[in-house]
């Protein structure tokens, strides 16, 4: 293996059950030290892919190559399994103490006692559960149990760490606290990690690259910033939080400025597409500014549309405002903007947004 070779390569991987494909992944490379998140709705194949990466599911075809060697052709699969560790959604602890749980992987490997002690201590501290070491696992809270499960995985110092929605059964404060500790642990140990989640906030926060999946296929791979700002198709766009998605058509293009027809209105956007191109117009609700009066005219690349408010939902420090039009349909209003607006159903407001905020997906990408 050369230094620049990826640690893990997935080539032409397919997995099926009862003749329907669970997974079809032509190519996916994971670099040494990288934190890759798999993101997608429930049932999109994230867990299946993790299980395949863990060597726990045999693919129907294709290869998973770890450091240049296909893992399913190794004479002894145990050699590969001993270089990885996986943490499941449920903490799956053994009915014994926290200490025994954290040490179990090391015991499987026959690690000598003094070293075992040292590693268990180190990881109990890493996840702030040293004081729980003698507690029985079944008496732990959800957060404590998941900390134990993570400490157990880190204790074996895996070359690849596979995390399957480790936070999804926790409450928000536990998730917040644990995510911070996990982030620190990952950066400190520089462990190559594949992290499955359906929560884009977790993925944004932890990962170097994101893989958006749906129905067993990869829809987009890229840095979180790239995926968020340039979703490859309408599915990815909606999954990464673009709530205003509508088909449109390029009417004119001049000096990188486009006039788009969307839902019977004309808006401005940036880009270079020939007139007549069918596009999907995407606009994040937080990019929309609502005001009672017409915003100041004259600025180039600025859109202002007048429409009535259909409904409002207050969510803590912000409000979601549903507009009674075809595009845009949802705006997010921050608490500073609220007092300036007549927030009543049926009230006319101006929804304004910069041309640069409009994301366009040209039709040839759609459904790819």
């Amino acid at each position: 293996m050369k230094a620049e070779d990826p640690l893990l390569q997935i080539i032409g991987l397919t997995l099926e059950r009862q003749r329907s494909f669970l997974l079809q992944i032509p190519r996916l490379f994971i670099q040494q030290g990288e934190i890759l998140s798999l993101i997608g709705p429930n049932g999109c194949g994230k867990t299946t892919l993790l299980m395949a990466l863990a060597g726990l599911l045999r693919p129907r075809s294709g290869q998973i190559i770890f450091k240049g060697e296909p893992i399913h052709r190794l004479p002894n699969p145990l050699t590969y399994r001993r270089r990885i560790a996986m943490v499941f959604q449920e903490s799956l602890l053994l009915n014994t103490t926290v200490w025994d749980n954290v040490s179990v992987g090391l015991k499987f490997r026959g690690v000598r006692k003094s070293l075992l002690r040292e590693k268990v201590m180190e990881n109990l501290e890493r996840f702030h559960i040293t004081h729980l070491s003698r507690r029985l696992a079944r008496t732990l809270s959800g957060g404590e149990a998941q900390r134990t499960s993570l400490a157990r995985a880190f204790a074996v110092e895996p070359e690849i760490l596979l995390l399957d929605e480790p936070f999804s059964s926790l409450d928000l404060p536990s998730t917040e606290a644990l995510m911070e500790d996990l982030e620190t642990a990952l950066r400190e140990t520089r462990t190559t990690t594949v992290f499955a989640t359906h929560n884009r906030t977790e993925a944004l926060r932890l990962s170097d690259r994101m893989v958006v999946m749906n129905s067993g296929k990869i829809r987009q791979i890229g840095t979180p910033g790239h995926v968020m700002n340039h979703p490859a198709d309408p599915f990815v766009a909606s999954f990464v939080g673009v709530e205003n998605i509508s088909p449109g058509r390029v009417l004119a293009c001049k000096h990188n400025r486009l006039i788009i027809s969307v839902a019977g209105q004309e808006i401005e956007a940036l880009g270079d597409l020939p007139a007549g191109t069918e596009v999907t117009v995407c606009l994040r609700p937080e990019k929309i500014f609502l005001s009672a009066a017409r915003p100041l005219q004259g600025s180039i690349g600025f859109n202002a549309l007048k429409m009535p408010i259909r409904r409002m939902v207050f969510v803590g420090s912000y409000a979601r405002v549903y507009l009674d039009g075809l595009f845009p349909r949802v705006a997010i209003l921050d608490h500073r903007e609220m007092p300036t607006l007549p927030l009543e159903t049926g009230q006319m407001v101006w929804a304004s947004f910069a041309a640069a905020s409009v994301q366009l997906i040209a039709s040839e990408n759609m459904g790819a």
Partner: protein, 232 residues
């Protein structure tokens, strides 16, 4: 009423004076049923665990057979073992019919499906993902199986209880293959049957009391272990 009172009195006397015949019978009962339970544990737990986490064609049928076997009538087992061990039967050359060895074989056959069925159920009630979690932490198949057995230790204790309880109280098979030979293959149950048929109720009551006590003691020990580990 006198019959019962007198019987109880004499039985009490036989017990407190540690009558040698009673002691001998008790000891043999423990030896035979204990060994049979041990054999059934080795076979029952290992097969139960194996079937519990493997998948193969005919598995359902096998499980239904094991469950049926949990209610195997002892006299049927006694008949089968007798036929096999009969002088000109397939295993007649062993010459062990009417011996404690034959009783152990018969009792092990009775207890094995009980232990296997309960072990199987115990393993199946563990979360399916636990196996994968253990493998993903680098366990060999054997290490994984051992951890699963440890996880299922409470229900497995129930298997021991049920197995031992089943064979120590069984009479049909022991009578048929052991022959109830005094001082050689006479156990608590077969002796009780014989003494009762002879009208020696004092002896029969003494033997039954011991049988009850034994069953109670074993269950008490196992229950206390089980309850100590009860999830709070």
């Amino acid at each position: 009423m006198d019959l019962i009172l007198e019987g109880l009195q004499k039985a009490f006397w036989l017990l407190v004076t540690l009558d040698s015949e009673v002691l001998g019978i008790t000891w043999l009962s423990l030896k035979v049923s204990g060994t049979a339970t041990l054999i059934s544990l080795v076979i029952g737990v290992s097969c139960g665990v194996w079937i519990g986490f493997s998948d193969f064609p005919g598995r359902r049928f096998l499980v239904s057979m094991i469950n049926t076997g949990m209610g195997l009538p002892p006299v049927v087992v006694g008949l089968l073992v007798t036929i096999f061990l009969w002088r000109n039967g397939p295993l007649g050359f062993l010459g062990i019919l009417y011996s404690p060895a034959a009783m152990i074989i018969a009792q092990a056959i009775i207890a094995t499906p009980i232990v296997m069925g309960i072990s199987l159920a115990a393993i199946q009630q563990l979360p399916k993902k636990l196996e994968l979690q253990l493998l993903a932490l680098g366990a060999t198949k054997a290490q994984m199986a051992w951890m699963l057995v440890k996880e299922a230790r409470l229900p497995l204790l129930a298997a021991v209880m049920a197995g031992f309880g089943g064979v120590i109280s069984e009479v049909g098979a022991s009578m048929m293959v052991g022959g109830n030979i005094m001082g050689y293959s006479r156990v608590l149950t077969t002796a009780t049957v014989m003494e009762t048929s002879k009208g020696n109720f004092d002896m029969a009551i003494a033997l039954s009391t011991i049988l009850l006590l034994l069953a109670y003691l074993v269950t008490l020990i196992l229950t206390s272990i089980q309850q100590r580990e009860r999830p709070r």
